[in-house]
Every structure is written in structure tokens, then in C-alpha cells.
Symmetry: C2
Subunit: 163 residues, 2 copies
DNA sequence: TATTGTTATGATATAATATAACAATATCCG
DNA sequence: CGGATATTGTTATATTATATCATAACAATA
């Protein structure tokens, strides 16, 4: 599944995180350790499964994978793990897909946004202070106390426009 | 349910759309007429129900209301009507709530964003070219062809911060 | 090491949200 | 009118998510 050279680097990276799994797990372990919380074997494994999928995966997709090696897994098993990972900012939930994807830059503020391809299903996480700041300004102008924000845009990625 | 005077006007409006139902329906009727599509009695009624709720409502909440007067209504009934209304930009879907809310400004481009109160559940629609344009720029810089975008921020509205 | 409080997981059931598929009507338009 | 298209009815099922209570692992303290 090689990607044309005309496609911007940032998007290519989304297709190429096969090598990102181990570093992501290590980073997660360090973050959890520094926060004094536990990345248990189960949580770690779910995080790996999220990364092993190269696209956003649904909870039940992850559950099926987990069940193969962990027969006691049930919906609450996966949802608890995902809730934990999302709370800690190690995984993002894509609201418009009811799906989960590993965070490229955990430990930071998580004001990212996603570009989601309707064709191949891939999602590119973008760090963008501009959008986040604009939302912050709006909120404070209206007296609204922000706790989270979700910015998702859908369309066609460069690769999928060619077809 | 009066609102403190210290609360910005824009937010108050979200609490005060009791008077907005009829104009919203009329606007919808005009828009559909001009597009040569049919705002059938069923679709019109669902749109009214969306507006009669002063907050985002789920599909099954709407279905329960519709059933009282339309006993044949079933899940497909409400989802079809909602799909139509969303497609036509008369209703917005709030992804993070799986809920629907009337569009304050139908006929326009729908690059709005929502501020959603975690306490009272109300959602304020904001027209904001800044965020939309930033997303557009990002997308075109990456060669991504945008078709839709969803910007949702959650937190506490002014009224709910007082408690 | 007991005890106790806290956090995490197991297990079962069910709630909540959404769609598939096909039949029956209604509406449009030649 | 009559055929094509769009809308609604109907039943069944898929998909996503939580409630609940029991048990196990871990942490802190005495």
C-alpha cells in the first residue's frame, strides 16, 4: 500500500504508523508512571490493539481482537480500558465514527483536530493552536467554561481522490 | 426560568427559543419549496418536535413524542425524517451527544460550532468563520477535500457555573 | 502479616442508538 | 391514466454502550 509522492508528508504519516506502536506504548508507560496511575496489562494490551489497527477502530472490533487472547473479555472490559486511555489522553475517541485511535502526541494538551477520510476511513490528527484558540476566545467571550473540545472534519484524503 | 443579567445575550437566546418554533418551521417550508423538495407533514412534525425541545434531543426521545400522535411511528420513521432534516441543513446532529437540535440559521453554509453545557445539556450554536476557515486552510494545505465539519466544545454555561 | 480501603476485573444482563430489508402508499409527471 | 419515483409502514436485527453486583488485586497502615 505505497503512497504517491505528491501526497503531503503529514498525511502519509497516518498510513505509516506500523513503527509507532512500541514507542507509543513506551511513552504511555512513562506518562502513567509519572502520574502515579497504573497501565495494567489489560490496559496496555488494549492500547496496543488500538495502535495495531492503522485506522480508527470501534469498541467491538477491539473487543473481538481482545477476546482471542483473553476469553473473559466482555463489553465492559473494553469500555473501561478505553475510558481510562481516553481520560489519560493516550487514545482519542472520534465522535463521528464511534471509534478510537491512538494519540500521536500524548502528554500534551489534546486540542487536536481530525481529518477523516470517508473512503479509506483513515484519520489524520492535526495539532492546531489556531482552531483551539479561536474556540477558547469564543467561549470566554460568552462566559462559557470549557472542559473539552472536539473538531472533526470529513472528506476525501489525497490518495482516495485519485480514484 | 429567568436568566441572570450578567449572562451574555448570545447564551440567553439558547434558553429562549420558545418563540422561535413557528418562524423556524416557516423558514424550513420556504427553503424546501425553493429547492423543490417536500417538507411532508411527518417531516414537518418531526422538525416541530425538535424545536419544541429546548435542548438537543435523542432520536428515541423524539420517537416517543411522535408515537403519542402517530402510532405507526418506529425507529426508521424518526431516523428517516432526521436524516432528511439534517441533509437539508434544517437540523444539526450533535455528534458527542447523539442528539439533534434545530438549526438557527438554515439556508446558510453550516460551518457552525456548538458550545454544549455538561450540566443543563443546552447547546449554543455559534456562527464562526474563523474556525471554519482555519479548518479549510489546513485541509487544502494537506490536499484533503472537505465535505463536512463538526466542531463541538463542552463545559459549563454561565448559568450552571453559579451553582 | 492481618486489616482495611481502594482500584481493577469478571460476569451477566440490558439499555440505547441505528440500520436492513421488503411491503404498501402516496405523489409526480409524461 | 399509468408508470416511475419518493415516501411511509412494518418487522427484524445490528451496533454501541451501561448498569449492576461479585470477586480479585493492590496499597497503606497498623
Amino acid at each position: 500500500m505505497s503512497v504517491s509522492k505528491t501526497i503531503p508528508v503529514a498525511w502519509q504519516r497516518a498510513h505509516d504508523h506500523g513503527q509507532c506502536i512500541a514507542p507509543a506504548i513506551n511513552a504511555a508507560a512513562r506518562i502513567c508512571e509519572s502520574r502515579g496511575i497504573r497501565l495494567t496489562p489489560l490496559r496496555r494490551r488494549v492500547l496496543e490493539l488500538v495502535w495495531e489497527n492503522h485506522k480508527p477502530v470501534g469498541a467491538y472490533g477491539l473487543l473481538d481482537e481482545l477476546k482471542r487472547e483473553h476469553s473473559s473479555a466482555a463489553p465492559p472490559t473494553i469500555y473501561r480500558a478505553l475510558d481510562f486511555l481516553v481520560e489519560q489522553g493516550l487514545v482519542h475517541r472520534i465522535q463521528s465514527l464511534n471509534a478510537y485511535v491512538g494519540c500521536n502526541d500524548p502528554g500534551h494538551s489534546h486540542k487536536g483536530m481530525f481529518l477523516i477520510c470517508n473512503d479509506c476511513g483513515d484519520a489524520l490528527e492535526i495539532e492546531d493552536k489556531g482552531v483551539a484558540n479561536t474556540i477558547d476566545r469564543f467561549a470566554s467571550r460568552l462566559g462559557f467554561l470549557l472542559t473539552s473540545q472536539s473538531v472533526e472534519a470529513a472528506g476525501l484524503c489525497p490518495g482516495c481522490q485519485e480514484a
